[in-house]
């Protein structure tokens, strides 16, 4: 049996992920009261009262449009929570610039670079909630590490939505994330969804037809028996006659080695 309780001091957070359009505030109670609560939010800017429009979804969230930009006067947000047994409140005071925090970058993609065993090409997009990247450009922070290590490498990028990693360990699977920040104000976004990628490897993982024939006719237990996937000789991964030449060459090399081991 849970006892109904008056509300504890609520937790309030305000953030501008769509600068310069406005900001939103969201709140919750640290512990349940087990009876219905009502929330009232007030926003004061200097001498002006502003209306924070409640969002339908999610609940416990409201948003405000900026009427003026580059304000020297702070915003003061007060959240009051009331139920049958009592009330409580909390206040946040902040400058327009202090609460700017974009959403993480979207559509992060990492791909190996053909014929480059130490490179990975990463690209991403501005968060769709950021309304005006032309006038309010974002800068980005990329972090990456091989799965087998704990230490992250970091790169800060002030321009563009792509980057080529050039110091990846050959053949190791990498985990990569990107964060965004307004170029001049506010704080870094949370990290994006992580993507995984492994740099291109030279060793063919699938044997070509020639090599397979050589394999079956030789007595050797070849160390060239293929692990499942390949990066160069897969039909899908390879385009153009140049790459096919690589496939055949690799096949011939494998065949040659197999012969040596008879």
């Amino acid at each position: 049996l849970s006892l109904a309780a008056p509300p504890k001091e609520p937790v309030l957070m305000c953030r501008s992920n769509n600068y310069p359009k406005g900001f939103y505030c969201s709140w919750h109670l640290p512990t349940p009261t087990y009876i219905p609560n009502s929330f009232n939010i007030s926003v004061i800017h200097g001498t002006k009262d502003m209306v924070c429009e409640k969002d339908a979804v999610p609940k416990n969230r409201c948003h405000i449009r900026y009427l003026q930009l580059f304000s020297t006067v702070k915003y003061k947000v007060t959240l009051t929570v009331t139920n049958a047994l009592g009330k409580n409140f909390t206040t946040l005071t902040f400058d327009e610039f202090a609460i700017v925090k974009p959403d993480p970058p979207e559509s992060v993609v990492a791909k190996p670079v053909p014929n480059n065993p130490r490179r990975l090409e990463v690209s991403w997009q501005n968060p769709s909630s950021w309304p005006d990247p032309e006038s309010f450009p974002l800068k980005f922070f990329l972090r990456y590490r091989p799965l087998i290590l704990d230490q992250w490498q970091h790169v800060e990028l002030s321009d563009g939505t792509s980057h080529t990693i050039t110091d990846a360990y050959a053949g190791k699977e990498y985990i990569i994330q990107v964060a965004a920040k307004d170029n001049d104000i506010g704080t870094w976004s949370d990290w994006s969804v992580a993507v995984h990628a492994t740099p291109w490897t030279e060793e063919p993982k699938h044997l070509t037809t020639e090599a397979q024939i050589t394999e079956t006719t030789s007595a050797s237990t070849s160390s060239f028996m293929a692990p499942p996937t390949t990066k160069i000789c897969d039909k899908g991964a390879v385009v153009g006659s140049g790459a096919m030449a690589v496939c055949w060459t690799a096949g011939l090399v494998v065949a040659a080695y197999s012969v040596l081991f008879i």
């Binding site: 930009l69 610039f97 001049d184």
Partner: protein, 221 residues
């Protein structure tokens, strides 16, 4: 000696406050406009960084409540002398390049004058040193903005908007209000530097095509 330096600074302030429009530089200067805008942008970022240290030191010198992070006083009428960066969003977006640059030029010219007044009055040597360094950098910014305007063929604003305030007048009636004036001066300076970063971002994107157009016109196309 420091006395001579202050004399020179005061003279420079007076000169800047009454600067006539510089003659427009010839068309070959337009090539550098894009780069000058980048340099001006970089200067605003540098100044913003410098101001953080200066403001911290200065507000501690003023003492409580001015150095409290939550200090949020109402804006008194007398504080309106300091040019405000605050602007309606659509208005800001719609500013022409000329108006955008001119607003920055006027604001920093005025703010520089007020800072010089402050410079003459502060107590500690450390503060005087920091203020002097900051004023020199701020003067560099004003000149840099002026350079961009001239290279784009815009006339420099005749002087700070409104009648130039003679140093120290109208004086605050008491010590607390004087400190309030100082507080708002630093606040407006900080806000202007944040705004300028955005102003120059916008200019960076827009200027190159205009430069090409101007050059073609100059050649009689």
């Amino acid at each position: 000696s420091t006395g001579d330096s202050w004399g020179i600074f005061t003279f420079l302030c007076a000169a800047l406050c009454n600067l006539p429009a510089l003659p427009a530089l010839n068309c070959s200067e337009e090539l550098g406009a894009g780069q000058s805008i980048q340099q001006t942008y970089d200067l605003t970022r540098y100044l913003e960084h410098q101001l953080r240290t200066l403001a911290g030191t200065y507000l501690n010198y003023l003492g409580p409540p001015f150095n409290e992070p939550d200090f949020n006083p109402p804006r008194l009428a007398r504080a309106e002398r300091v040019p405000s960066a605050t602007v309606d969003l659509d208005l800001w977006r719609g500013l022409t390049d000329n108006a955008r640059l001119a607003a920055n030029y006027r604001a920093y010219s005025r703010l520089l004058c007020y800072l010089r007044v402050l410079d003459g009055q502060v107590g500690t040597a450390e503060l005087r040193h920091r203020l002097a360094h900051f004023c020199a950098s701020l003067q560099g910014l004003v000149l840099s903005i002026g350079g961009v305007m001239s290279s784009l063929g815009y006339p420099l604003p005749a002087g700070p908007a409104g009648p130039p305030a003679p140093p120290g007048a109208p004086a605050a009636p008491n010590d607390f209000l004087k400190k309030m004036d100082d507080f708002w001066l630093l606040k407006e300076l900080q806000t202007w530097l944040w705004r300028s970063a955005k102003d120059f971002n916008r200019l960076k994107k827009k200027v190159p095509p205009a430069v090409v157009t101007l050059r073609l016109e100059a050649r009689g196309f």
